[in-house]
Assembly symmetry: C2
DNA sequence: CACCTGAGAATTTGATCATATTCTGGTGCC
DNA sequence: GGCACCAGAATATGATCAAATTCTCAGGTG
């Protein structure tokens, strides 16, 4: 995932040896990305201490990291909550995602191996299955996996890191929209992306990615508009 | 600065009321941006506890935030240090800065007031003075101020946040290069940017910004190359 | 008489610290 | 050269203090 933020790099044979604050961070991060937490929801330190059965210091550090990530919001008084996105925020996210993720797609295209492309295809199949069965949580996980896996082949840690952060920002809203509109209606340009990868055509990959990003975000806009 | 990371918003009459972890964060951040800390240098919690005369918990939280910002690096074991940039990192930074900061320049151009332009001009004057007198620290501060002030008028908190983070990544290296090559040699496209702002020409502003970014980063590349 | 308002207490939550425990890296002995 | 030990640093806990929100209950008003 992100070079700078996930340091222990998951020592293969020793999964239990991660520090507590790292474990808390991962758990909380997943909850935000995949929707246990709703936009606007308050997040309390003591609540997480009980829920995650962790000490106070690790929880504190995890929250600080996630605030820095843009995944949580410090409300000025000492309260922390999951951010609500406005139309302007989404407009910014569209621009940022387009430029960053298209570039990552370009870079990945010229470096990825055939075997890795098939791994991506496998993820996309799982995604299709989730869409077909209306499995919202599965859809969110697989969609995120697809993008993350692709970017990991771009050999661009800083850009990948930026992209990862952007996902944390709209994750909660994506969940709300998916829950409301269902997974069926979501666009999926992943087939086009896979085609481009196989043809080793960076610009085609970038274009497909641009469509995927734009349609996905547009969908969020519509979903949030429906909420008013 | 960044919406999401600097919450207390500096209650006008009560500067002493910031929490300790926030103060530590600001101090450490400034040290990184403006060069007290050298790339590769180790950062220890206990060292900062003594230096900044703060408790352990606030220091810990500040370090976590800065790691998440990309300003510090977790070395896998429990060590933390200031990152060293490689050529590939700089190449990524050039792309990211170009796209993000040019867009911020565009957005600022169509929103900034005449009075605010003059404030920018004043910063640029201070910058010129620092260059003329060879004041490296002043140069770094004023240069950062100019960009930050400009972006604050773009009304784009997410993009500004991304830009801010990028500065944290190359700040230490910029300091090294400036110290080695002197401030004289640094390019300064700020006059062009100010021109574009006054003419309300977004594309011209973006172009000037692109040059400023590119020449600045190219300079860093040359400086680092000279170090080998 | 019902309802709104606001002061102040009670409770919840966050911030900080002192301390115990665990881990890493280095040193010196075999 | 490899292994055991040691010093120092990081991680994690729980207690304590401080702040903020919420609740409650008078008092006043329509």
């Amino acid at each position: 995932m992100t070079e700078t933020t996930s340091p222990p790099a998951a020592v293969h044979g020793n999964p239990a040896k991660l520090p507590a604050h790292e474990i808390v961070y991962q758990k909380l991060r997943a909850q935000i990305l995949f929707g246990e937490l709703v936009p606007g929801q308050a997040v309390t330190i003591q609540g997480l201490v009980e829920t995650l059965e962790a000490g106070m210091t690790p929880v504190r550090e995890a929250i600080r990291r996630l605030i820095s990530d843009g995944a949580l919001m410090f409300q000025g008084n000492r309260r922390v909550s999951v951010p609500l996105l406005g139309a302007e925020d989404i407009e910014e996210l569209i621009f940022a995602r387009k430029t960053i993720e298209c570039e990552l797609a370009r870079r990945a295209t010229i470096q990825i191996s055939a075997a890795d492309i098939e791994e991506l295809a496998a993820i996309d199949n799982a995604l299709d299955k989730a869409i077909a069965t209306g499995d919202v949580a599965g859809y969110l996980v697989q969609n995120y996996s697809f993008h993350t896996a692709l970017y990991s082949h771009a050999n661009a840690p800083i850009l990948s890191d930026i992209a990862d952060r952007l996902w944390l920002r709209f994750g909660p809203s994506l969940r709300v929209v998916s829950g409301r509109l269902g997974t069926q209606s979501f666009p999926d340009r992943h087939k086009d992306i896979l085609d481009a990868l196989r043809r080793q055509d960076p610009e085609m990959a970038a274009l497909a990615m641009e469509r995927d990003v734009f349609e996905g975000m547009e969908h969020v806009v519509q979903g949030l508009r429906a909420a008013n």
